[in-house]
């Protein structure tokens, strides 16, 4: 009846205590209209009148529902819910632990994500601070990089009125020896900066005036904990300290103590030295071609980035004849952490992609756990159906049944939430170590508790609403008459949910496997040089002038078989250039060559394979200090027919090629082989490290102590420091290994939750089919055939999940692998193995249940009929 529909609409929004009279009045009007206008118009008018009643004067007349009766009902719901939970211990355990695992995983991930988003967001003027980037067309591609000339900041400040402040900032990892009384510390964690840094950013200062700290070039600002390392508990502010570098010593006055930098900033320094200090030593960096510092700019209020970027575009072109292809643009500080990848000159995401993946992972974990809850609750319908029927017969409204079921799910969610908070609290230190971050769950903070509570309640309601509606919809007549609802294993929604659960699990398994294979592949990549027994120590202090004596003694005492000075560790990039000149170079050619300096016998120390010409050998050929060695890729770029004896020119310095070595992995094992030029020992200023190939005959510990003794002898000022080449090489994989570990952990969690759900689900499904099994057995069904039957129905959605989600995984893993120059190709067998593994896990999970069910004596299941 149409009228009934209009009345139902009214009941939906109208407060109960007004309902009767309004309905009466409406019907009275309808009767009148019926006589006056006929049925059709009367009906329309009725509906219209009902709609007109939907107004604040009516709708807002809902009396608050906190009558005492409701309170009693609510407490009763919780009482019943807790009784049911206690009675079905296995069910409650599966639900609570599954949810707790899911929530814990998600909470950790979301803490991580929110930490990532908070990077450099604490600066007071963050919306006006920008970092300068270069954009340049090189070999047909637009490259972007954020290292700029030192001269850029003062020029911007001088020539452009919208600029409030522009500063240079550089972290060159120079080796500074700090001397305070007896304390000596070798540090590379310092930064050079313009005085404006302290006022531009909001790093809290404990002592000193941010605006005046760098008035004197010989001033230094320390962080709190570094000051403590140097001065202990004594006051550091205003004191002096000595820094020595390369044989020179300088006095500095401490003019400021900064609070330790928070973990959510991209700045990492323990001390700041003003650029004025470097420049007071005589050297002013005014060359526009030398990109060596980061430039930060703070614009005055009310300037738009676009117009300003238009203004500064040509700044390099104007000042630098060779930089016609370079443009400068500003990029917001707030995007520095997460959005700093450029593809062909256009912002193309960056770290945010990882963060998004983490977010999806977190949501999926919670969803998997919620699916467990939904599946188990609906599967339990058989058991709860009589309860529902009795409650309805004795007068329960549907909404009160819904409330009761929601109370149950909220109770479970709260239980899981409490467990999760506990777990997060206990796991956070490990998780922090794992991901190398410093996350905190602020227990004193009401907002985070509010969010946690809201989240848990939301999960309870989301997971509980479908089962509540489903269970409360049973019709008591049918249930009481037929002793139960007609449940079969066929429930489309439930199967779909299982498909999703296991699809996600298979995605994670495959991801973990692919990451593992990729790491394995990269680790076993031919490095091209021998890392065994290879050690390097910093070339500091007196070692520079005592180097020859030091080397000779190492060789004489047979501690080392070969010693070579280099400009940088072979695992670190030091310098590159695109302005090498050689005979027959194409004028448009702008390939970047990696520069590394080595003085003597590099191939002996590093075990490089010489394919053409010879190694540096200063003893036989003293002229080798102005020689150069190429790698094969560099030779290919230069395209020289007969490279030996050719002269190359690097910014005015000439070098003679004497050899070519086989390609080796430089800086990072993830990159393709770059063209590398090894320059000889002429450039005395360039050397920073000493590589020592230890004598393999000796015990490493003995060699190290000999080395310690010798460095003490030749370089008494500095503490002994050394690095193993193979350890540093392995360090490169730390990040990737973290990714693998995280994926593995969350894969296990996801599989665990899904299996837990499967276990519960199969238990109830088998229970519902007990009689069927009994009859099958009576009619001669074998245990095996029944087990097959039961397993098949559980496995079908799982197999479907694997099939549907595998292609998705293939796409995403291919995308991930594409970020590596050296990558594996995805093979089908990874997918097969992952799918088989998952099916095996599923079979094991349900195996015991199906076996027990198939083995029961049919008499037990059928005699009650």
């Amino acid at each position: 009846m149409e009228n009934a529909r209009a009345i139902r609409l009214l009941r939906w929004f109208c407060p109960q205590h007004l309902r009767e009279e309004i309905e009466g009045d409406l019907l009275q009007r309808y009767e009148r209209d019926l006589k006056k206008y006929g049925e059709k118009r009367a009906r329309k008018k009725l509906l219209w009148n009902v709609i007109r009643f939907c107004r604040p004067g009516i709708v807002l007349r809902h009396k608050p529902n906190f009558s005492r009766n409701n309170f009693y009902m609510l407490s009763n719901y919780f009482k019943v819910a807790s009784r049911i939970m206690i009675r079905n211990k296995a069910y409650s355990f599966i639900n609570i632990s599954g949810l707790a695992f899911g929530i814990t995983g998600a909470a950790l991930l979301f803490l991580w994500i929110s930490h990532e988003f908070s990077y450099d967001q604490f600066h007071a003027d963050k919306h006006r601070i920008y970092k300068a980037w270069n954009r340049a067309l090189e070999n047909g591609q637009i490259n972007c990089w954020d290292v700029t000339p030192r001269i850029l900041a003062p020029t911007l400040q001088e020539e452009f009125s919208p600029v409030e402040a522009a500063i240079s900032y550089a972290q060159w990892e120079s080796k500074h020896l700090f001397i305070v009384g007896e304390t000596r510390l070798l540090k590379t964690s310092g930064a050079f900066a313009d005085p404006g840094l302290l006022t531009m950013f909001s790093f809290p200062m404990l002592n000193g005036n941010p605006a005046k700290a760098f008035e004197n070039p010989n001033s230094i600002v320390l962080t709190e904990s570094f000051a403590k390392q140097l001065f202990g508990d004594e006051k550091a502010f205003g004191e002096t300290l000595t820094i020595s570098q390369s044989g020179y010593s300088f006095e500095f006055i401490i003019t400021g103590i900064l609070k330790d930098l928070p973990s959510n900033t991209s700045f990492k320094f323990e001390y700041l030295i003003p650029f004025q200090f470097l420049e007071s030593l005589g050297e002013k960096y005014t060359h526009w071609g030398n990109n060596s510092v980061a430039t930060y700019v703070k614009l005055k209020e009310g300037n738009s980035l676009e117009t300003f970027n238009d203004q500064i575009k040509d700044i390099v072109r104007k000042h630098y004849a060779d930089g016609q292809h370079i443009e400068i643009f500003l990029y917001p500080l707030t995007k520095m952490r997460l959005y700093s990848r450029f593809e062909n000159g256009i912002p193309a995401g960056g770290r945010i992609e990882i963060i998004r993946m983490l977010g999806i992972l977190g949501i999926c974990l919670v969803v998997i756990a919620c699916i467990n809850f939904i599946n188990l609750s609906t599967a339990r319908a058989q058991r709860r159906s009589k309860e529902v029927a009795i409650r309805k017969v004795t007068g329960a409204f549907r909404h009160s049944l819904v409330m009761q079921f929601l109370c149950e799910s909220v109770l479970i969610a709260v239980g899981a939430g409490v467990l999760s908070i506990l777990a997060v609290y206990l796991l956070l230190p490990f998780f922090n170590k794992l991901i190398g971050q410093h996350l905190v769950f602020s227990f004193g903070n009401l907002t985070s508790w509010g969010i946690a509570l809201g989240f848990v309640l939301l999960i309870g309601l989301l997971a509980g609403s479908y089962p509540a509606l489903y269970l409360s919809s049973f019709r008591p007549m049918g249930i009481l008459k037929n002793s139960g609802i007609a449940t079969s294993g066929k429930n489309t929604l439930r199967s779909l949910l299982v498909v999703f659960q296991f699809g996600f699990a298979v995605m994670l398994i495959i991801s973990a496997m692919v990451i593992y294979k990729q790491i394995d592949f990269l680790q076993n990549r031919e490095a091209g040089y021998s890392k065994d027994n290879l050690i390097y120590i910093p070339l500091t202090g007196d070692l520079e002038k005592n180097y020859l004596a030091f080397k000779n003694e190492l060789m004489q005492r047979e501690v080392a078989v070969s010693v070579t000075k280099t400009s940088a560790p072979i695992t670190e990039q030091w310098s590159s250039t695109n302005s090498i000149e050689w005979s027959g170079k194409h004028p448009e050619e702008r390939t970047d060559f990696e520069r590394i300096f080595m003085d003597d016998r590099p191939s002996a120390t590093f075990g490089l394979n010489i394919v053409m010409g010879r190694d540096f050998d200063l003893q036989q050929f003293p002229n080798d200090s102005s020689a150069a060695i190429l790698n094969e890729t560099a030779l290919k770029v230069m395209n020289l027919d007969n490279p030996i004896g050719e002269i190359i020119d690097d910014d005015g310095r000439e070098w003679r090629i004497i050899g070519v070595v086989k390609d080796f992995v430089f800086t990072s094992p993830f990159r393709n082989i770059e063209p590398i030029i090894i320059f000889g020992g002429k450039a005395r200023w360039a050397f920073n490290e000493i590589y020592i190939k230890l004598n393999p005959v000796n015990d490493v510990r003995k060699s190290l102590s000999a080395l310690n003794e010798l460095t003490k002898k030749y370089n008494p000022e500095y503490p002994f420091e050394y690095h193993f080449a193979d350890v540093e090489y392995a360090h490169k994989f730390a990040n990737l290994k973290t990714t693998l570990l995280i994926t593995t952990i969350f894969t296990s969690i996801a599989i665990f939750i899904a299996s837990l759900g499967l276990l519960g689900l199969s238990t109830y499904l088998i229970e519902a089919r007990v009689k069927e099994i009994g009859i099958r057995k009576v009619l001669g069904g074998s245990v095996l055939s029944i087990m097959k039957l039961l397993s098949m129905s559980s496995l079908k959605p799982i197999v479907l999940g694997i099939i549907v989600f595998s292609p998705l995984t293939w796409l995403s893993m291919n995308w991930w692998l594409n970020s590596y120059a050296h990558r594996i190709t995805l093979s089908v067998w990874i997918f097969l193995v992952a799918g088989m593994a998952l099916i095996l896990i599923a079979l094991l999970t349900i195996g015991v249940q199906t076996y027990r069910a198939a083995n029961t004596n049919p008499v037990n299941s059928l005699r009650n009929e």
């Binding site: 309004i22 009466g24 409406l26 019907l27 009275q28 009007r29 009148r32 009148n49 007109r52 009643f53």
Partner: protein, 108 residues
């Protein structure tokens, strides 16, 4: 003095509650407004006004009888309270005072 003021429609509804006595309920009041004042009125407006007047304590209500044409639903019968009566009187006096200030036009 009148402490609370009534809108024009509120006053009309209050007057009708007083006038209809035993027969003052939502639909009847709406009918009266339509037939006597020849004015289009919406049922929901009458209801909202009645509730508001009840909130102000100017009328009170009891459930009345159910009739067949109402689908078995009871009516809510409103009666005016003494506060409501006083309010009506006060408003009338105020009107008269104001009317007296209007220069009387002679009808010629």
């Amino acid at each position: 003095m009148i402490k609370e003021y009534l809108g024009e429609f509120e006053e009309t509804v209050l007057l009708l509650v007083a006038a209809l006595q035993e027969d003052a309920y939502g639909a009847a009041i709406a009918n009266e407004i339509e037939s006597r004042l020849e004015r289009e009125v919406n049922l929901s407006a009458v209801h909202v006004t009645l509730y508001r007047l009840e909130d102000k304590g100017l009328i009170k209500s009891t459930f009345g009888g159910a009739t067949k044409e109402r689908g078995g639903r009871r009516k809510r019968i409103y009666t005016i309270t003494s506060a409501g009566m006083a309010m009506l009187k006060a408003m009338k006096e105020a009107r008269i005072t104001l009317w007296k200030m209007v220069p009387q036009l002679k009808i010629s």
